[in-house]
Each structure stands twice: as C-alpha cells, then as structure tokens.
Symmetry: D2
Subunit: 355 residues, 4 copies
C-alpha cells in the first residue's frame, strides 16, 4: 500500500464536505490497513462537521466501520490480510498512563483514544489505517454479518457503557433519556445489566417502538408533560435507582439528577456540545450530600471489548440491525449526512455500503 | 395470636420428621406474624434434616414462603394484617455491625441472618414469626402470583447473587456448575448480568432443558467426559471469565478454578456440607498469583432485595415457575421431602399449598 | 427519665438562640438517653441557625457529642447506664430501604439519617435521645479521651469519607479545597488512603499549618493566584487524580473539576447552601466524556464506623485535638456560636464542656 | 549495543549458578536497554534457582533493578540515553486482552507479565533489555536514591498490592502473616490503606522490630502459641477484617481464613511453591457462605504504578531502605544468593552494587 491514490469523504472546513483523493495509508510495525465493507454515520460526525471540535481541513470523516484486512505491520500477530474485522471507533494507546489507569479512552490526553476523524483521517475512505492493530480490532465470527458487527464499534459499546456505569442493581429501576441509537443501546444495556424496570424518555413514535423492543417497560413522552413529574408519578415519588443521559444537553442532565433517588447514580453518555456549564440542580442533588453520584465515559475500545460484544450478537442476546433505517452506497454518503442532520424520514442509522 | 395451638412440620432429631402441635407465635414491637399460603421445599431443608447443622429437636422446618400478614407489632409501619407478602429466607438484624458492613446475611455471627429452621422455627407451619418485619418482607404486587413470588425468597435471590458476585463482564463467558434450582437461577442471573456465553454443566436431561430455557448457550455433560477439558475445548483453551459453583463439593469447586482464566472470578454459592477442606488446585490457581479471585455469599435478604426481584417477575424478565415440577398439600409435605431426598421423578422444586 | 425539666440550647426562629427548659427525653425499646460530657459546635449548626434548612422553633441545636449512658430501652443489648459513649451525628434507620442499599445516611428520605438539630432535638442539652442505640453509638475505650472521641462523630467520619470516595490510587495525587475542620480531616483521610502527594488549598496561616500537620505536602494559597493554574503548574499540567471539595460553593466545585485529570474523581463533601445550580465546567469535563466522575456523601454513621474511627485514635494514627482552638462551658455556648460565625480569633473548633 | 560481550549471572540447571559471557541486548523499536546500577536479590530468585518454574539453562537471574538508559528504540518517546530509571519486575504486554481486562500481569498467559528470569534473561547483567520501555520503566526523581528506588520494582508494588486487595476499611483490623520483605511492605501498605489495627505474625526479632517500624501495632509470635488463637484473643473472638498471606504455604493460608471474620477478605500474595492444593478450611469458611472472599495477585507493573510508588518515597511516606541488611558488589552476588537461601545473618534484603 501507500503509493496509490484512493477516494475519501472529507470535511473541508466547517459545514463543507466532499470527496477527495488521498494517498493510501501504510501500516507501521504495529498497525494494519483495512478496506471497509460497511460503515455507519454517527451523529457525532455531524457535530464534527459543524465545528464541535473546531476547524478541520481535508479530514476524512467516519469512525464506525468493518472491513477486510489489507496489510499488517511486522509485529502484528493476531491478524493477517483477508481477515474480516471490526475496527473500534476508539483506538487507544494501550501503554499510556491513562490506559494503565483503567481509562484507555483518555490515553495521552483527555478523549485521546478518539483518533478517527478527530486527530487522524476517519473511516469513510477506500482504506483505513488502524494503530496497534492487535489491540484495536477484532475478527468477526462467521455467523455474524458485517451489518451486525459494525454496530459494536460505537453504538453498542457506548450505549452499553452507559448502563454499566449506572450501577444498576439487579431488579433496579432505570430511566434512559433520549432514544437515539446510543440511547436505544443504553436501554438494551440496562436490560443486560438486570434492570427490573426501564423507563425510556422519548417523543418520536418509531424510537418509542424500538425502545420497547430493546427492553423499555414504559415510555415517557416529554411532549406530554414534564418528564421529571411523570417519572416521579410512575415511581410513587421515589425516583429511579439510575438515570442515563443519552442526549447531551444541560436540561436533560438536570432532569436526570432530579429523577434519581438519594443513593442513586446518574450516568452520562451524552456529548455536551454547548454552553459554558452543565448544571447540577442544587436542591435535588441534596445540597451535595444525597449520594447521587455522576459517572461519565467515552466509548470503550479494544479487541477484548469488541470480541465480547460480538459474542452477544452471536448468541442472540441483541440484534442491533433494527436500528438500520436507511442504506446508501459510499458514493451517496452525502445524502446520509444530510438526513442525519435533518433527522427527516425517521432516520436512525444509515448503513454505508462500500462495495 | 399466641395462645392457640397450631400445626407445624418439624424435625425431631436427625432424619426424623413429623407434624407437631405448637403455640402460635406472637409479634414483638418490630415483628409480624404471617399465615403461609405457598411454600417451597429446599435441598438445604433436607441437609438440615440429615444433620448438616447438627442435632435439632422439635424444630419447624422450611424457609421459603409467601403468605398473608396476620398480625404486626406496634412499630411496624409498612404492613398491616391482610397484606399479601413474601418473607425472605434470610431475615437479618439490620442494625448489627455486619449489616452496617454490607454483609447483613452475617449479622451477629457467621450466617447469622439465617434464622428460619436454624436458630428459630421455620415456615412450614400455620403461622410464621418474622423479625424486623418492615425490613424483611415485601408486599406482592397484584399481577404476581404466590407461586411466582415464593421463588424470590431464596432461589432467585441466591442464584442471582451467584452471578452478581461473579464479576461477569458484558459479553463475558460464564460456566455454571450444576443446574439444580439455585444453579438454574445462577444461569438466568448470568444472562441478566450481560453474559455473552453461558456454559451449563449438567447431566440430567430435564435440567439441561431448563438450563437452556434460562439462558444457557451450551451444555456440558460431565458424564460424557471431563468437564474441565470440555470447557477448555469450547473456549479454545482460554477458559471462562467467571465460574459459578452451585453444587457444594470440593471436586466441582476445583473444576471451577481450573476452567477460570487468569484474571477471572470463581463465585461460590454451593453449600459445602462435607470434608475438612475445600481445595484450591495450586498450579491452576497460578501458584496464588493468577488473579483468580474467589467470592462467596449467603442468600441476600431484605425488603429492597425482595421488591427488586418481584419487579423482574412483574416485567416479564424471568418466570421461575417452570421449576415447579410437583405440588403437595401441607398435609403431604412428608412426601415432598422424600422426593427431594431421592431426587426421583425428575423433581426440581415441590410447591407446598397451605390452603 | 422523662418527667423532669432540663436545660437545652435552642434555635428560636432564624438567627435567634437561647436556653430553654425542656422535658427530659425518654428511651423507647430500642433507644438510649445519654448525658453529654463534651460537644463540638459545627459550622453547619451556624448554617441551620441562619435558615439553611428552613425555619425552626424551639429546636435544640448540636449534633457532635460524647457522654455517659443514662438509660437504655429494653431491647438494647450493647450498652448499659454508665457507659462512656460517642453518639453519631448521623443516626440512620438501619432497616430502611436506603440503608439496605448501602446508603444509611439517606434512610427513609434524602439526608434522612441526619436527625439531630434537623428533625429532632440536637445534642446541646443536659440529656440526649438516641434512636436505635445499639446501632448508633460506640463505647469509648479507656485510653481515648472524651475530647478525642467527640471528633469521630462528624469531623473525622465526614472528612475521611471525602477521601474514601475520591478513589485515590496508592501514591496518587490529591487536591483538597478548603482546610476547615472537615477539609483538614479530608487531608488526613487522603494520607490514610495512601495518597502520594497532597495539595491543600487554603489562605489562612493557622489552617495551612494544620494542613501540613495532617499530611499536606504542598499548600496552594488562592489569594496568591488562580488555584487551578497553581495546581496545573505543580503537576506539570497533568492535574490530580482526585479533588475533594470541602467548602460548598459552586466556584470551588468548578475548580475541582478543572484540576482533575481525565479518568480522575471529584469527591464532594461541601454543603452547598446557595444558588440554583452547582456548575460543572463543560469543556474541562471533556464535554461529558473525560471520565471525571463526581461522588457525594453525607457523614457515615453507625457503631461499626465509630468503633473503627476510635481505633485510629487509639493506635495513634490521628490526633484530631489539634483542631480544638477554644473551650467553653455549656453556659457560654452562645459565645462559641458567635465565634464560629465570625471565624474570628483563628477559631477552628470550639469544645463545649458540659460539667 | 548488541555486538559486544557482557557479563551475566546465570542459572545453569537447577541449583547451579555462575557468571557467563553473553551478547549485549539490542532494543527493538519499542524497547530500551538499561545499564543496572543497583539491584536486589529476591527470595523468588532462590525459588527459581531451585526449580520452582522448572529447568532453566544459561538464564540470567534477577528482576529488581534500577539503572541508566543506554539505548532506546525509535518509537520510545518518554526516555533517552542517560536517564536514571527504575524497571518494573513485571513488564506486561499492554495491548494484550488480559491487560485490557485490568490484569496486565497476566498478559498473554497466566503470570505472562513476569518475563525477567522466567521467559527471558533477567537483570543481573551488565545490560538489560526492557520491552515496551515507555510503559514499563519510570524516571527516578533527583531526590530519590537508587537504593530507595529499587524497592519499588517489586517489594513495594507487591506488598502494597496485598493491602490494596485486602479491602481494608478505614480503621479496620488486619493480620499480616510473615514479615519477610514483601510481608513488611504489606504491613506498611495496610497502614497506607487506613488500617486501624495491624497485627503482624512473625517470630524473628529483627523482623518483628521492622514490622513495628512499618506500622504493626501488635506482634503475634507463632512460636509462642497458635496464631489463630492469639489473634482471636486479641480481637475478642471476632477476627479481623482482612488477612494477608505473605509466606506461601497452605498452612498459613488456612490460618488466614480462620482469623478472618464473616464478610472479611483474605488477600494472598504468597507464592505457593508446593503441594497439590491450597486448602480452604471448610467450616471456618462458613461452608462456603460466610462471605470471606479470597483475592490474589501478581506484582503490578507499569510506568504509572512505578511513578506513584516513587512519589510515596519522595514525600517521605515510606522509607524502604531499612530492609537493606547487606551489600554486595556484582562480583560477590553468589554470596548474596547463599545468604538468601540460608536466611543466616539476619538477612532481609541484600543490595547489589553494579559499579
């Protein structure tokens, strides 16, 4: 690899996209080059495009992909060309202090495991470079499809993490705020953590329906009244053991604190893109003494994580493909971005087909 | 209550049972008296009868029951006569040091939360005394049947605890040794903790079938070969993240250590009734340095726990009644004990009907 | 007890104090009555007096006390009249759902374990009623003085909790914001949790001096520059593993988030008395994804906790009496309150002598 | 480096040692070569020599070293030639599944992080090869001496881990069995974890004395009676919260279980070199239900760990050099091994001087 031109879908300044010709990536000694077969567009791609992480020029977009290994570096032991693999959206530096501390997604700097379409070219290209390939990819089992597998790279890993951080007791009550794809996977994650009752906050009918499919026992429609009041009504004024914020606004974050009982946990997975502060409501937080803890996280990466998520699909514990509402060829990816922006046509996740 | 005679099914020395006339219990200020409607016979009742906890004379047997509140003490705030309730098999002293330390089942002395048919009369009687009633019983919701609810008092609480202690990662691999009723609930518990692959070790076809129903992905029949080898074969020699011992022999405990990978967890829920030692195999334990931790526990009690388990039934996450293989009237309870001893007729759990 | 009048120091509406004659308390079956020998005035008493928890009429103030048991209820097993005891500032209902959930300080309602001088009469009186005496008091060993012991009831329990919640790694770095008595004990607590480097934020020389005595390796004086910058300078821009908020303002809370590295923990022990929100700075919080968790808590109570804290004093691990800057007779307690309010004369803790 | 001969102290079959001439090691892209300045002989070197891990031919011994960087690979970012560094005794593969799972010491296979003098040449040589240098070494601060620093590589990391795994509550009680260098550091570690009372089991006067210096409040001499009885006497029959096994025999392991209260933790750091089983005493283990958990571990490595341990020395929290009882030149290392074997002359740790 390395000397030939390839096609990539790039950001050219804030709000501007287009196809560019780039040089094919090369694999260093620990790395791999992967040829994507299927990808997904993420709402955070849209955020990036609109400047959430600042100006970017000629940066390839995308971070959710599966594909076929094209080339591996000399130290790579686990993979060889031709392997069908899932690539983590987050690809940490595993020897870094943060990874040694149990926070690989923060390797080298805050959010430092997030490299694709942030500090290096993303996955919407004919070829993709993967750092520390042995540690950051996983082989896809024969009985798992590409479409299924691409959901583990971010949606399942992030959504499930929201539930894992929420300290849900077996049989406990959980509220999940917003049922976009990450929120839906948080709902499913809550079920997989043994929640006894899951309340999903959502107003869009198709998302409500999927929420039920992924484990929600009740739906709270915030367009029909204050969700805090509705959840207190549903729980006899007691509140929930755990609340998961899957939208990324200070308003929903505040609601999460308000519906959580003393001694409970708020788990944040929303990307807070705006404002100077995220606000904790002082009184409902028990003036700082009600033992309502707040957990946060960035999508866990790593081969082990990916393999475990694949196992859940393989054994029928979860089918993420119900979130695929649209399909586009790589050539049509611009249209996928447009829909993700407008959220029109009931879009949840658009699947990108590379061949 | 208190001055009338009532009928109780008692142990009269090792191996001897019979009905006795006893005085009806009275409720102290924090206590309640409950009239049982449904009960379950537990294998540990049979152990007790055969002397596992020593000689007992005129001790009422039984610890799994649901019923109707007959009387409450003056300090009881949460219940009143007529309430339909589940009574925890374990009824801790909640102010004790052990409970304050997070180990209520060990209150006042090791296993001190286990009072029924151990240090006080059990539940196979017309009336049952419950200490600290507000803390040790739970109201049964309308849409949960007595038969469903009686399973939370021990089987679900203990079995699920086995999975909770097993530190199962989302998508992780788990082996559950023995699929009696507690093992079956450990299997279900592993599923509720997000296991990606559950291997159940069992030889009896009916139990294998229930194991699959409760979440097992694969069955290892120890009559068809060494289960340690079979599990290593199934996991490409890697072993499992977590192993749950649900039988109570040193042999299966050793197997649990042998199938667990370095860094994994062995969760013991078996009652080890025999021998001087439970053996850890030294080499497979990594000469004490392979980070294979060993967790143990006694059935968690408490109103909160019971309420959470009821919620799982209420929302359809688990149906424990498939374990009910037989039904007997209270008068026929001797026959239930006989079957639990011989395990004949494919018995798993016999339901006792009190009215 | 019960029929005689006694003297109590009460709050009579916001900002008004005085001595009142009250009836001596009586012990219910699980309770005790204690005759105080030494007490401490807490800044939160002053907050209460100024309306932080609302209007109160004829409410006895105070919650930090040691004394001698005068009377015990019939169910009390651990204590008898004449015992020298420490009484927890927080006296939970141990059978409550919150206590069963590991959050006794939140029993029955948020902050529900806080009863003294909140929902019942406090400890600045000739006699004090203690609920669930077996669970909420501890006998003071012979070689521990009353003055030492009274510090365990709140200052040591709360301050140490701040460090316990801070997830301090062995050898990790910690910043403690504010070195009042709770902050000083958080500093000592950080040392007792194995912190490798403790940075205390404080401007008052006497408090800086005590901070060093209790384990601070460095002092950051916020009057000499932005403490966030100073801490980043001290840590080569890396930030600390853990920050402890021991003041209770949104401003210092924000600073805590800003000095904590990605993957670190903010532990709040400050009582946030003002404002609608406590603010999380969005960017420094990694837009919600930097894995900076936020923990909160209310002083842990309970006999076990008290006994463990006494053991630390007994074996010379901590000497809290260096915080006693003033002494007053019970008759002079008004002056102690005045000084705690103005913080004049370098006051840290005023010891109240009851005999 | 790489083409010149160097001197190494090797094992030549079981029980045989001697100096050999070997080729100088070379640094791969992620590696470093270090020239030792100070080293320590470990009892496990003696175990290895006597065949504990099997036959080895021409294997350089030693795993505790500090030195000066001689050469670094092209990818190494944190170090350069001339840096004074400590090298972890355990040097994990940080991208491995086990490391991603939080168990770096088990990377690639059980105990797989233990490479020196096991699967590759150890540190008793003129030059030492370090894999993943950025992740497995730490720069030594100016005010920490080589002698101090060499103790972090194994003794402090392992001993402190024993205390970290022991789940010691603040103010809790701990028993540490055996006060060799690792046991002494477990004693110090217990103090650094907030133990309220530390009971050290040891018979050798010099070790008893050091145990007191490192935090033991009481000494139990097993030559003066059954240590289990003595510890029960000291704790009014209650037992300890945590017991640490620092010897590595099934007998002391059993004693650990026997002195631990229901709900407590046994933390094993002993290397169990003999026998088919390590025995858990069945009854004292509460027939598997007393919630006495058993934790194990292998010395944690990694730059972050090493830096944190250095910080404890730098800020005066611990001085490990009191364990240095002897000094030898590299040429005299044979004599150091002889003494470690016989334990004569009151030896605790012999320091090896390389220049």
């Amino acid at each position: 690899m390395g000397d030939n031109p390839m096609k990539a879908f790039v950001m050219n300044g804030i709000g501007e996209t287009g196809f560019a010709e780039k040089e094919e990536p090369q694999a260093g000694p620990n790395d791999a080059v992967v040829k994507p077969t299927k990808g997904l567009v993420c709402t955070s791609d849209v955020h990036t495009l609109h400047g959430a992480i600042g100006e970017r020029e000629n940066l390839t977009l995308g971070h959710e992909t599966v594909g076929v290994v094209e080339e591996v570096g000399e130290n790579v032991e686990e993979f060889e060309p031709g392997d069908r693999v899932a690539v983590g959206a987050i690809t940490p530096d595993w020897g870094s202090a943060a990874a040694q501390d149990g926070h690989p997604s923060q390797s080298k700097e805050p959010l430092g495991g997030w490299k694709f379409a942030n500090v290096k070219d993303g996955t919407f290209a004919e070829y993709v470079h993967v750092n520390e390939a042995d540690a950051n990819m996983a082989r896809i089992p024969e009985d798992v499809t590409d479409e299924e597998a691409v959901y583990i790279t971010d949606m399942m890993s992030t959504g499930f993490m929201g539930a894992e951080h929420a300290e849900i007791p077996v049989g406990g009550t959980v509220a999940v705020f917003a049922q976009g794809p990450v929120g839906l996977m948080a709902t499913k994650g809550a079920e997989l953590q043994g929640a006894g009752r899951i309340i999903a906050v959502e107003s869009v009918p198709k998302r409500q329906e999927l929420a039920r499919e992924y484990g929600a026992d009740e739906i709270v429609n915030f367009e029909e009244g204050d969700p805090v009041e509705q959840i207190h009504d549903l729980t006899d004024g007691e509140g929930v053991d755990s609340a998961i914020e899957a939208l990324g606004t200070s308003g929903t974050f505040e609601q999460c604190v308000k519906v959580t009982k003393a001694g409970g946990t708020v788990s944040n997975i929303g990307y807070h893109g705006e404002g100077e502060h995220v606000n904790i409501p002082r009184e409902e937080w028990g003036v700082g003494m009600a033992e309502i803890d707040i957990a946060t996280g960035l999508c866990p990466g790593g081969r082990l994580r990916l393999e475990r998520l694949l196992r859940l699909i393989e054994n029928g514990r979860v089918d993420p493909t119900h979130m695929t509402t649209h399909e586009f060829g790589f050539d049509e990816i611009d249209e996928a971005f447009r829909l993700m922006e407008t959220k029109e046509d009931g879009i949840i996740k658009p699947l990108i087909l590379f061949d």
